[in-house]
C-alpha cells in the first residue's frame, strides 16, 4: 500500500516538474522557491494557461502543498458543483480532471478516505455519470456518495446568519475532518454569478428557502457555517458566460484555462468575478452576495490587502 502511495507521489512530483519544464517557465519554479523561503503566506493564487490538473498542482504548491490542509488519516469531503446532467464541455459542472487530481493529492497527503458528492438539480445519477466526475473521482480512489434524499442531511444552526438561521447540511460535510469547495465559474440568472459561495447551496437540503427569502443574503449566511471549507478551488478551465447556471449550448462556454484558489471565500469569488467581467460585464455590486459576505466578516473583497500570486503557465 505504502509503495503505491510513494510511487504515486513520486509520479505527482514528476508531473509538476514535467509541466513546468514543458512550458519552459523555469522562473516560476524559482518564484515559488523564493516564496517558500521568504515565508510570506500566499492568500490567493490565480493560474492561467494550463490543463486543470496541472494548474491545480501549481496553485497548491503556492499555497504550501496539500499537507498543510490534509493530515494523515483525515476523512476528506470534496464538494464540486455537479448540479446538472451535462458533459464537461458545457461547463455546467466542475471539471472532472480537476476533481480527480484533488482526490489524488488528498490521498498523497495521507487522507484515509475521500468522499465526493453534490445535492444535484438534475437527476443525481445522471449528473454524477455524465459530468465525468464519478469516473474521475472513483478512478482516483474516492467514494461518490449520494445527496438526493433528505435523510442524508442534518439540521445545523447558523447563528451568524442574518436570515438563514438554520439549515440541513449533508452529513458528509459535517462528519469529515475537512472539506474542499470546488465550484465552477458560471453566469447565474438569479445570483448573477455562481462561484464558491453559491456552491454552498449544494451542501444544503432545502434550497427553496434560499430563493424565497432573499437569495443573495442566504448565500452569504450559509457561508458563515462553522464548518468552513479549508480551501476554495474555482475551476475556470471553461467558463459559462451566459444562460447560467445550466447553459443551453456550447456557445455559452468560453475556454478560459484558469483556476483560482484561496481560503478566503469572498476574495476568491471577487477575483473570479473580476475575471468573468473580462468576458461579460458583471459589476461586483450586482453580485450582491459578495458584499453581504464581507459584511458578515467571512472574507474580503479588497484584493489589494492580500498577497495574491498571479501565474501564467
Amino acid at each position: 500500500m505504502m509503495d503505491r502511495r510513494k510511487f504515486l507521489s513520486a509520479l505527482a512530483v514528476a508531473g509538476v516538474a514535467a509541466t513546468i519544464k514543458v512550458n519552459g517557465a523555469m522562473h516560476l519554479m524559482s518564484q515559488s522557491l523564493d516564496n517558500s523561503t521568504s515565508g510570506t503566506p500566499v492568500d490567493l493564487v490565480a493560474v492561467m494557461g494550463g490543463e486543470p490538473g496541472a494548474m491545480f498542482k501549481r496553485a497548491l504548491a503556492e499555497m504550501g502543498g496539500m499537507n498543510k490542509f490534509v493530515k494523515p488519516g483525515y476523512k476528506v469531503c470534496i464538494k464540486p458543483n455537479i448540479g446538472w446532467d451535462k458533459s464537461p464541455e458545457f461547463a455546467a459542472n466542475a471539471n472532472p480532471e480537476l476533481i480527480g487530481e484533488i482526490v489524488k493529492q488528498c490521498f498523497d497527503a495521507g487522507a484515509s478516505e475521500v468522499l465526493v458528492f453534490d445535492n444535484t438539480c438534475d437527476d443525481w445519477r445522471q449528473c454524477y455519470q455524465n459530468s465525468g466526475i464519478e469516473k474521475a473521482a472513483k478512478d482516483a480512489g474516492a467514494n461518490m456518495i449520494p445527496g438526493h434524499q433528505e435523510s442524508y442531511y442534518r439540521n445545523v444552526s447558523i447563528p451568524k446568519g442574518k436570515i438563514l438561521k438554520e439549515a440541513k447540511i449533508h452529513q458528509a460535510i459535517l462528519d469529515s475532518d475537512i472539506w474542499i469547495n470546488v465550484p465552477v465559474l458560471k453566469h447565474h440568472g438569479g445570483a448573477r454569478l455562481s462561484i464558491s459561495m453559491k456552491n454552498h447551496m449544494g451542501i444544503v437540503w432545502d434550497r427553496r428557502f434560499f430563493h424565497s427569502n432573499d437569495l443573495q443574503q442566504c448565500i452569504a449566511d450559509i457561508c458563515t457555517l462553522d464548518k468552513k471549507p479549508v480551501l476554495n478551488v474555482v475551476d475556470a478551465y471553461r467558463t459559462l458566460k451566459s444562460n447560467g447556471p445550466r447553459g443551453k449550448s456550447e456557445s455559452d462556454v468560453v475556454l478560459t484555462k484558469s483556476l483560482f484558489m484561496s481560503q478566503d471565500i469572498v476574495a476568491v469569488d471577487t477575483a473570479a468575478a473580476k475575471f468573468f467581467s473580462q468576458i461579460e460585464e458583471m459589476p461586483l455590486d450586482h453580485v450582491e452576495h459578495l458584499a453581504n459576505g464581507q459584511s458578515l466578516n467571512i472574507g474580503t473583497m479588497n484584493l489589494e490587502s492580500l498577497n495574491v500570486k498571479r501565474i501564467k503557465l
Binding site: E113, R125, G189, R208, H211, S242, R246, K274, E280, D285
Partner: protein, 504 residues
C-alpha cells in the same frame, strides 16, 4: 419431466420480469424489456407483428403454454397455489366443471367494445400482464425499496457506498388500492380455486384458449390405458379434465402438466394431436349454434356502436380546465388512451419519480394511466427512459434530439406571485432549471432580475414549476392535450478569451 421444464422456464421468466419491474437502480440489462414486449396485449397494441405472430404460432403449436410460462399473472397464481399447498392439511381436490363460455366471451367482447369506444380502462384493468405490473409497482416496489434502504443503512455504516437510499413513499393511493385489490382477489381465487381467473375472466386466456383448441400438441387421454381413476382431474387447477368422459377442454388447459405427473398408468400425455392413423384422438366438436350467434351479434355491434358514437366521446376535458400532462413520446392524451394498459412500467422506471397513475385527471376512461406531476421532480432534459421501456407503444420511442423539441405543455408565468417581482429579492430558480431558457431572467431594478417567458421554445419539462419556491407556484406548465413541436432556441453569441490578464 415436462412439468419440470415448464416450472423451470416459468420461474425464470417470472423472476426476471418481476425484478425488471422492481429494479429502480437500473442494475439489470435493458434487454429484459423484451419480457414485457412478448406479452400479448402490449404486442397487439404496439402492433408488433413479429411477437403477435409468434404468440399465435406458439398457441397453435403448444397450447396455452403462454399462460403457464410467459404471463406473470399466471405464474403468480401458481406460486400462490403452491404456497397454499404447504398450508393445507388436506390436499385440494379439483373437480371438472363446465366451461363458462358465455361469460368468457362476454368479457372479451365488452373489453373490446369499450376499448373501441375510447374507454380503454377495462382492458387495462383485466389484462393480466398490466394488472401484474401495477401490483408489483404499487405494492411490492415500496417494500423492495425499504429493503434496499435497510441494506444501504447497514453497508454505509461500514463506509461501503454500494447502495443508495431511494424514495419508498407511495406514489398514488388509488393505484395502491387497485394493486392490493388485484393481489387479494386473484390471490384468493388462486388459493381456493386454482386458475379460475384465467378460465373465466382473463380476456387473454380466452383468446389463447380458443387457439389452443386447435393446437398441434395437446394433453391427450390414452383411452386404452385410462381407468378413470380421477387422479388427473383432482390435480387439474384449470378444472378442465373430465376423467369420467376422458375428455379435456383444451380452451382452458394451461399445459401445466400436473395431470401427467399425477397419472400412475401413463394414460395421459402431451403429444401431437393430429394423427393420420385410425386412432381417434378427439371427439368432434358439437357445434354450439347459440354461442356462434352470440359471438357474431356482439362482434357486429362492436363495430357498429363506435361508428355511430364517434365524435361524441373525446375523453378530453374542457380547455379552460387544467390539462393533464402526458409523458414525452405519448403524442398526447388520445394516443396515450388508445394504447396504454397502465402496466406502470414507466412509473417504476422514471428516475425522477414524476410519472403518477392518474385518478380522475384523464376522466374515468384514463384511470390509472400515467400522468406527469412536478411535485417531486421534473422531466430530465436528456432522459428518454419511459419512451424506451413502454411495451404497448403508448409512449413511442424518442431520440434525445426529438425529445428536446417535444412540447408536452407550455410555461405559464404569474408575475404577481413571483418572489423576484413581488418581494424584489433575487431568485431566478425557474430560469436556473430551464434547459431551453424558455424562462430567462431580465434586468428589472438595478441588479435585480425577474423572469420572462417564451412559450415557443418551452418543452414543458416542469423544471421551473418544480423549483419555484412560491407555495402557490408563480410559474407552472399547462399540458398540451396533443403534443407540439417546440422551436429550437437561439444559441448565445460565441466568444473567445484572449488570455491577456486576470482582470484584477
Amino acid at each position: 419431466m415436462l412439468k419440470k421444464i415448464r416450472v423451470g422456464f416459468a420461474t425464470l421468466f417470472f423472476t426476471l420480469i418481476t425484478l425488471y419491474f422492481l429494479d429502480f437502480a437500473e442494475l439489470l440489462p435493458d434487454q429484459l424489456n423484451f419480457l414485457t414486449q412478448i406479452q400479448l396485449v402490449p404486442a397487439i397494441l404496439s402492433l408488433s407483428i413479429v411477437w403477435i405472430v409468434s404468440l399465435v404460432i406458439l398457441a397453435l403449436v403448444f397450447g396455452r403454454i403462454y399462460c403457464s410460462v410467459i404471463c406473470p399473472m399466471g405464474v403468480y397464481q401458481d406460486v400462490v397455489g403452491r404456497v397454499a399447498r404447504l398450508f393445507r392439511k388436506k390436499k385440494k381436490r379439483f373437480r371438472y366443471r363446465k366451461a363458462m363460455t358465455i361469460l368468457r366471451w362476454s368479457v372479451v367482447v365488452i373489453v373490446l367494445v369499450a376499448f373501441l369506444l375510447g374507454i380503454p380502462v377495462l382492458l387495462g384493468l383485466l389484462d393480466p400482464y398490466s394488472a401484474y405490473g401495477r401490483m408489483i409497482v404499487s405494492v411490492f416496489r415500496p417494500i423492495y425499496i425499504l429493503g434496499n434502504n435497510l441494506l444501504e443503512a447497514i453497508f454505509t455504516s461500514f463506509d461501503n457506498y454500494t447502495f443508495y437510499r431511494a424514495d419508498a413513499s407511495i406514489l398514488s393511493v388509488s393505484a395502491l388500492i387497485i394493486g392490493l385489490l388485484t393481489l387479494i382477489t386473484i390471490g384468493y381465487l388462486a388459493w381456493k380455486h386454482g386458475r379460475t381467473y384465467c378460465d373465466t375472466i382473463c380476456p387473454v386466456g380466452t383468446v389463447l384458449g380458443f387457439l389452443s383448441k386447435y393446437s398441434l400438441f395437446r394433453v391427450i387421454f390414452d383411452h386404452g390405458k385410462c381407468n378413470s381413476c380421477t387422479l388427473c382431474e383432482l390435480n387439474c387447477k384449470a378444472y378442465c379434465i373430465d376423467s369420467k368422459a376422458q375428455e379435456i377442454d383444451h380452451s382452458r388447459c394451461v399445459t401445466c402438466f400436473n395431470c401427467i405427473e399425477s397419472c400412475n398408468r401413463n394414460a395421459i400425455s402431451y403429444k401431437f394431436a393430429y394423427r393420420t392413423s385410425s386412432e381417434k384422438v378427439a371427439k368432434p366438436d358439437v357445434i354450439d349454434e347459440g354461442k356462434r350467434k352470440f359471438l357474431s351479434t356482439t362482434l357486429l355491434s362492436t363495430v357498429a356502436i363506435p361508428a355511430t358514437m364517434a365524435g361524441k366521446v373525446t375523453g378530453v376535458k374542457d380547455a379552460n380546465k387544467h390539462t393533464p400532462l402526458t409523458p414525452p413520446g405519448s403524442k398526447g392524451i388520445k394516443h396515450l388512451k388508445d394504447h396504454c394498459t397502465s402496466c406502470h412500467l414507466c412509473v417504476s422506471k422514471c428516475p425522477a419519480d414524476i410519472l403518477e397513475p392518474a385518478f380522475a385527471e384523464y376522466g374515468l376512461s384514463g384511470f390509472m394511466m400515467p400522468t406527469m406531476k412536478f411535485q417531486n421532480g421534473f422531466c430530465n432534459y436528456d432522459c428518454i427512459i419511459c419512451s424506451e421501456v413502454c411495451p404497448t407503444g403508448a409512449i413511442q420511442p424518442l431520440t434525445v434530439d426529438e425529445k428536446h423539441l417535444t412540447q408536452v405543455g407550455k410555461i405559464i408565468l404569474d408575475l404577481d406571485h413571483c418572489i423576484a417581482y413581488r418581494d424584489e429579492t433575487h431568485c431566478g430558480a425557474c430560469a436556473e432549471h430551464c434547459p431551453t431558457q424558455a424562462v430567462t431572467m431580465i434586468p428589472h431594478k438595478g441588479a435585480l432580475t425577474i423572469p420572462t417567458t417564451d412559450q415557443s421554445i418551452c418543452i414543458g419539462c416542469g423544471g421551473c414549476e418544480y423549483i419555484c419556491p412560491e407555495t402557490g407556484k408563480a410559474i407552472y406548465i399547462e399540458g398540451n392535450a396533443e403534443h407540439q413541436e417546440a422551436e429550437m432556441f437561439e444559441e448565445a453569441e460565441k466568444k473567445e478569451f484572449d488570455f491577456g490578464g486576470f482582470g484584477f
